[in-house]
Symmetry: D2
Subunit: 443 residues, 4 copies
């Protein structure tokens, strides 16, 4: 399957996964961890998505660029991505700074291009210099075929290949927009234009190419923030100086180098934004999978845990939900459109609706968790207590929700803001990592 | 926790896990695999139980003795139990023979003692000879505290320490029975005596020791087949010549050496027998766990798989069941007292009752398994088809059960025997590994 | 470099490395170990040669076929060849029998074809059956380009590709000889023919092809025992029934299938024969390397040891010799045309000439080995004592040679045979593994 | 051997290895790498010394604190120290900052105490908080028995245990000096006092204790910068605020807490200073080993390389030298009191005296390195050319020294300073990593 590019050429490709900004768009999930370490689908981390994709394509010179090294990110990567002694590959985390200091803005990566610029010297060592850089956003979810994109880049002898996804007119303000010819040559780039931008008519997808004919209801090519760049070109376009690729390096390259479009017509979503992150999780629970997880060629890698089967200790009703290993579910449970994460503990008589329960990093200390979960107990240090009703919520890792709580049941009353012990964003309740909620709390 | 014996002493203990006989008692699960490789709890192998127990106790000189090396056993062990370069430990599989040959009885291990005898030279290499041998049966399930047993062995300066479990009179015929004094000294041993054996009165548990006072309803100490033996003693008692420990070496040692009882009062079951194997699985599904799987100190290790959460793609009723990762469940499902193994596929409108579904080694090739499972499809190469009713059954790995099947619903009609495409043992239906059952089959 | 065949095709190739016969030709090195485990070049094992070659070519479905699993072979392979979780590859040892039993000839592999025949069912598991089998002899040394051979096999759409090396007339009796046309099509095969075999004239290398023009002084193509065979063809030709490929399967295939020659013009030696094994080691010490060990693309893999630099603790003269890590050399040493293996201990005033010292598996217990080696000590449990003169010898692992010994100095007196504590074969003295030689022994 | 402290207690000890300052004292070896990554003994890194010591003692919660993450340090640690899934241990690198920025002093660790203070929050995660911190300097070499020190710390119920080494009066200005009673209680601390400091007489080693009686010629206890500190005490003493332990936290703790001396009477050297670093290497080559490398219990761990034996391709004279694996030595070579590092290439007719050749990270691209090294060639991209004379020098990694060079032969002419292409420090010539020196250069 992964045969369109030879291993020798792949060995000369450096992959840079951009961990994203300070993570404010995913706040408060990023309060205590770096963005790439945010738990995805109840058992992965965000960074596993891009890393797994590259590993399946046997692109093994991997670098994760992040603002800071959370201990959990480092540990996760060191434990999960251990290449054997017979590969030349490896994985490195490059952080703008290890520790957060007041009033010291300069040490952070100021944007995607700035991150690459500041770390560029790290990619030039060794006797074999890299020939191409594959730059991927670490907070997106899609099945972009990076191998096919690389084959296309080589076949077209491109300086810069940019992945594009068809977008609607109303999405223009969130995307960089590409002007491409019938041959796929990109000659212009507008960063987040308004719908009445005078140049926009020239940016409509042409109808000549095969890719252009599909999804005609989406008249523009939006940049996915995924680039393949020839090493010597990268060095030049970074000199342009803008902090972000979209605001400087890409338009500069479009005008000065041979930039080609690589069309991606499948699922594409930026889950680095809180509401999309939540939405994608609920949709996954309901069976709409952006990645075919149930297939060995597209599975996601993550840290090896030694966990038992999910246990339904009593009688439950489960509808359109995902349940991760190691979970223990009490009697008379109702799960609907929910994702129950690793080692989750949900005591008897609870109902979860449109809820992403991230699970726990460890089990509460008890000799017989299945039994107490089934009968209900106030003594478990973490997990969801008996008789809770939860909807429209993200419960972060290692929380203790007391019995009888009511969370997110009335969407009309959910006003955005940070409250004592929880936050509400875009109508979704977030209980931060490690929170303790007293019994009978109503949110 | 594991501190009663020092690492240096532990390094001088060789662990021998006896894979058991030719596996006839677990037939037909052992038709295509060696006994230690039989799938346990839908995601482990039998051998993981004893190995994990020893590893938690940091006893790391591990040997698995088996009649033959099934490829799957070897692969499983090599992939799962990789010690790092900083340990002195290691794991070896020693097989009586690699390949089965007609009319050649001699090459097999004739019993537990014969297995140890034939392989004894394998344990003497290296500059540091072993001082003690811990011999464990590989087909039992219990939480025997091997570290405490070793500490006891050392504290008592015993030649031979034998683990005992309290048993009822009616269990006598299945056990070796120990005669122990108030101090725990064992001075006699009867292998599977009848209830009217003249010496039995002397074998009743004495009431002096603390352990003896517990579980008074079980008047005898049955041997668990778990031994700790001083190296030089082992060599001597094997010269006795009997094929099994119980039939010769143990009674010989009881009379000639200082043999001490190590009392084990917790759960104990021999799951190397088919009906117990099935029964323990159903009881686990119903919440009666012989091992505290939901605790990091007693978890079982197994092969690292990269699998997504279990998916309930429609509306299901789940009662007292265990569901392993990677499973995909269709709409309108009923699970009760069942264990659904790794990568199981169960299409819509099925019901499982008292069923151990072992799961699959791979996914059927399909772009969207969750969708077809939910809507029903005849095209999936493995898994349970739509609208099946299954009870009292073990479905081995990689089976394809056509839609509309009725299996094991009427226990009265289940007569033991091997039939075309399935077997019935003790009233339990077994569908062998990789079987294909046509639609609407009734068993 | 390794690009001529795609990873997908490589995944469908099973590699079978034939560990060879009972190892009598390497006796007594094979007295206590299986042939693939014989130490090569003082720090590797024989089996590392073929395995490393395949791994460099990314052929990762590896099987080692051996008569019996020596514990050391298994341990070596399990520790050395650990593929990561991101590869589909794996390595298995398949042994004819685990334990040697008197008067039971049938259980052994009777020859190369018999070994493959008896294990054939082991290669058919999994959802993706193998399409080609690469069969390599495990006791040869050469730089056969297995990737190029595979590319050739595919390009020619061959059923059976056989590697050939040019040989002299006087070598005929040791080789299978190929009859090939200008196109490389092989149409005949003679197993070890005499020089006056009537068909031989038809077997002379034709002069049409490019390969045929090289090394004209060697008029025949000898089979290297390296085959690439289409899966379905293999199954058929094994039915022919002969124990060895050369005596049956290959001539049968030459007549019934499309068999192509893959010419190999570089170094080729069978080191499964004692005198060649010795000879190749001395030649390596003298700088004639059959494999380019000093290059990262052709390096050999072996077990990771944690060893310090080789130490020359006094003043030494070293001429055309190889010195492995962890060795400690005493004062006033003379090394010439010798190979000093891992952790070797050679005390002061010794001289080694044309000697292959295999080294030690562990260090003698001493606080300051460098010091006592330099000053001389009778108390070291292993190693070469002070003031020894050794020539024309193989000293196997973990030997203790007392001080003042004289070994192999006078070739005329070395009569072949097994003696008390040593053997002489073809004029070479062998001290078996773990031997203790008293001081002042003269051989 | 490592039994004085139980594994459970060890699990609650966090080890912090202080990578040291900006590395100016080792300049220019630290020009392109962080201090812990400086090559030690031709095949290790400085950080391997402390890490190996802790791992042998089974202290596995390891943290390396460094000013910045050189890519090579990270790669080295990730590849070398991979604990298996059965351990709770792990290793983290914590860097003051990833990237060097002008005029931004604050982001660096200002000293040993500052480094611990700034990273303290990183050690508090998990459900089991650490109870003790073992703080070790990463640039020292000694065989401090950390396990015995921990046992001593626990037995004395100390708040703070400090390792001390006997020192001479003239060493006072380089050490923190301890005032200890007969019981080992430390009640005072002077940081680098002058020899006429008025309090010094009270600091002389008392003669009551067993340790105090040894090495009477060294009248003071110098601090080795190795501390064992109770977790809650550490937090308090760091509040004292000084950048270094010696300048503030230690004297504060000596006055306010129960501080105990742990006497270390063996070898001790700070090799974070250039001249000592060089001196220790030459002494090792001459056989004076600060660590017993030739013993499996005290060996150093390092990255697994796949390298062939060291080759002496011609006739050489080797005296009191260490030769690392993978090296290729030409004809007519003279090595004396020198250390030849990994993959070193030294062409014919060279002599090395008191030289530490660090070796190479890769081989020059050539089909037959042994041959050209033996005959001499101008075309090898790295290594020492033919006919060079080198003395009193450190040649860093990957240098190319042209033929006929004369380096460091006349100590009188070696004036300290940085010159074009080399430096001289304390009479030692340093050729920086990757330098190219023209033929016939004279230094």
């Amino acid at each position: 399957m992964h045969d369109s590019v030879s291993p020798t050429v792949k060995r000369k490709v450096a992959v840079l996964i951009l961990g994203g900004g300070r993570g404010t768009r995913l706040y408060p999930l990023t309060l205590k961890r770096s963005k790439p370490a945010v738990p995805f689908a109840g058992r992965y981390r965000l960074v596993d998505i891009a890393l797994s994709r590259c590993i399946h394509a046997r692109l093994l010179n991997l670098h994760v660029l992040t603002q800071y090294n959370s201990a959990s990110l480092h540990l996760h990567i060191n434990r999960t991505y251990r290449f054997d002694a017979f590969n030349k590959g490896g994985i490195q985390v490059l952080a703008a700074s290890q520790f957060y200091m007041q009033d010291d803005r300069e040490q952070w990566f100021l944007g995607s291009a700035d991150a690459v610029r500041k770390t560029l010297n790290h990619y030039s060592q060794g006797s074999e210099p890299y020939q191409h850089f594959l730059i991927l956003a670490g907070d997106q979810i899609h099945e972009l075929d990076v191998e096919a994109m690389l084959a296309h880049h080589l076949a077209e002898d491109a300086d810069f290949t940019i992945a594009g996804t068809p977008i609607h007119g109303e999405q223009l303000s969130k995307y960089g927009v590409l002007k491409s010819s019938v041959t796929g040559r990109v000659s212009g780039f507008l960063e987040k234009p308004s719908q009445d931008h005078p140049e926009l008519p020239d940016f409509r997808r042409s109808v000549g190419s095969k890719a252009d004919k599909l999804q005609p209801e989406k008249p523009y090519w939006g940049s996915m923030g995924s680039y393949l760049i020839r090493a010597e070109i990268l060095r030049d376009i970074l000199r342009e100086g803008s902090p972000d690729f979209g605001s400087g390096a890409v338009p500069y390259a479009a005008h000065n180098y041979k930039m080609m479009l690589y069309p991606h017509l499948g699922f594409f979503e930026d889950i680095g934004v809180f509401e999309t992150f939540f939405d994608v999780h609920i949709r996954m629970a309901e069976g709409c999978l952006p990645i075919n997880l149930y297939h060995s060629d597209t599975s996601l890698y993550t840290y090896r845990r030694e966990l038992p089967p999910a246990m339904f200790s009593g009688s439950s009703s489960v509808e359109k939900s995902l349940v991760v290993e190691g979970s223990v579910m009490g009697d008379q449970l109702k799960l609907k459109s929910s994702l129950v994460g690793v080692r989750s503990i949900v005591q008897r008589d609870c109902s979860l609706y449109k809820t992403y329960l991230m699970g726990n990093d460890f089990y509460p200390c008890h000799d017989n968790i299945p039994q107490v979960v089934n009968t209900g107990s106030k003594n478990l240090e973490i997990g969801i207590g008996a008789n809770c009703r939860i909807a429209n919520a993200i419960i972060d890792k290692n929380c203790s929700i007391g019995s009888g709580c009511r969370i997110g049941l009335d969407p009309d009353k959910l006003k955005d803001g940070d409250y004592q012990g929880y936050s509400i964003h875009k109508g979704i309740v977030i209980i931060p990592k490690g929170s303790v909620l007293p019994s009978n709390t109503i949110i």
